[in-house]
């Protein structure tokens, strides 16, 4: 489990290269690695741009069936005023493309977001890879 502080633009690059490294180690395909890396990049950029600072946690879990990579992006920023709109394509308050959050949702398998002015914003995403298993049952 690694926790990365996001305070500058450089940290965005650092967080995504860490994510790519872990995704590669876990055996994700090149396309899935790129998806995971792009998602981390969007999440880290959101932290930097809207909250100023925060953290990105990346970790993995494995069970018999699948390997998962989990990313948690957390900040103590002002929160997202209108979550429904922020999750729609083309909506932006920051002069960007408005592709960030809806894009991340499409890039990953799981997407969970909580946001409030008191507690900031927390986005949890995950991507899974099915592990080819031989039969786990033995007689």
């Amino acid at each position: 489990m690694s926790e990365l502080q996001i305070r500058s633009e450089k940290d965005i690059v650092t967080s995504r290269s860490q994510g790519r490294k872990l995704a590669a180690e876990l055996g994700f395909s090149a396309v899935e690695q790129a998806r995971i890396t792009a998602a981390i990049s969007e999440l880290a950029r959101n932290i930097y741009k809207y909250a100023g600072s925060g953290t990105i946690c990346i970790h993995s879990e494995q069970d018999i069936r699948r390997i998962g990579i989990f990313i948690t992006a957390k900040d103590d920023g002002p929160g997202i005023e209108n979550l429904q709109e922020a999750l729609q394509d083309g909506y932006t308050t920051g002069g960007g493309l408005g592709r960030g959050l809806p894009g991340v949702k499409r890039l990953m398998d799981n997407f969970d977001i909580t946001s409030s002015p008191q507690e900031g914003t927390c986005v949890k995403v995950a991507k899974y890879r099915i592990v080819k298993t031989t039969s786990v049952f033995r007689i």
Binding site: R20, A30, S41, R45, G96, R99, G103
Partner: protein, 118 residues
């Protein structure tokens, strides 16, 4: 970090070989426009073969630089977009519809020549 811009006859050639951070991308945008202005180049090829991630910000910077160059009278072709990058861009909802692309540098130069001679 500065991205080198090479001049070849009337063209400018750029190969991006680093993991682009925001500052480098913005700097590149400025450098390219200045170089077009100085050199009077009519065509630009930006090769992305070594780029393995484009997020929404970098995509915006690249899309903008194509439009900006166009305003200045230089045609830009993006080349060598990796399969994984193409998939990611579409997931992000970025289609780069107005941008001319080509498979590799060679195809890019051919395309540029065709468009400029028309």
């Amino acid at each position: 970090m500065r991205i080198p811009i090479l001049k070849l006859h009337n063209y400018l050639l750029i190969s991006i070989q680093i993991d682009l951070d925001d500052q480098t991308a913005i700097q590149f945008q400025e450098d390219l426009l200045n170089k077009i202005h100085q050199s009077g180049a009519t065509g630009v090829v930006i090769d992305l073969t070594s780029v393995d991630i484009i997020d929404s910000f970098i995509a915006k910077v690249l899309g903008d630089v194509v439009t900006m160059s166009d305003l200045m009278g230089a045609k830009v072709v993006l080349t060598g977009i990796q399969p994984a990058v193409a998939v990611t861009l579409i997931d992000l909802g970025i289609h780069l519809n107005e941008v001319t692309t080509a498979l590799d540098l060679e195809q890019g130069l051919i395309k540029l020549r065709q468009e400029l001679e028309e």
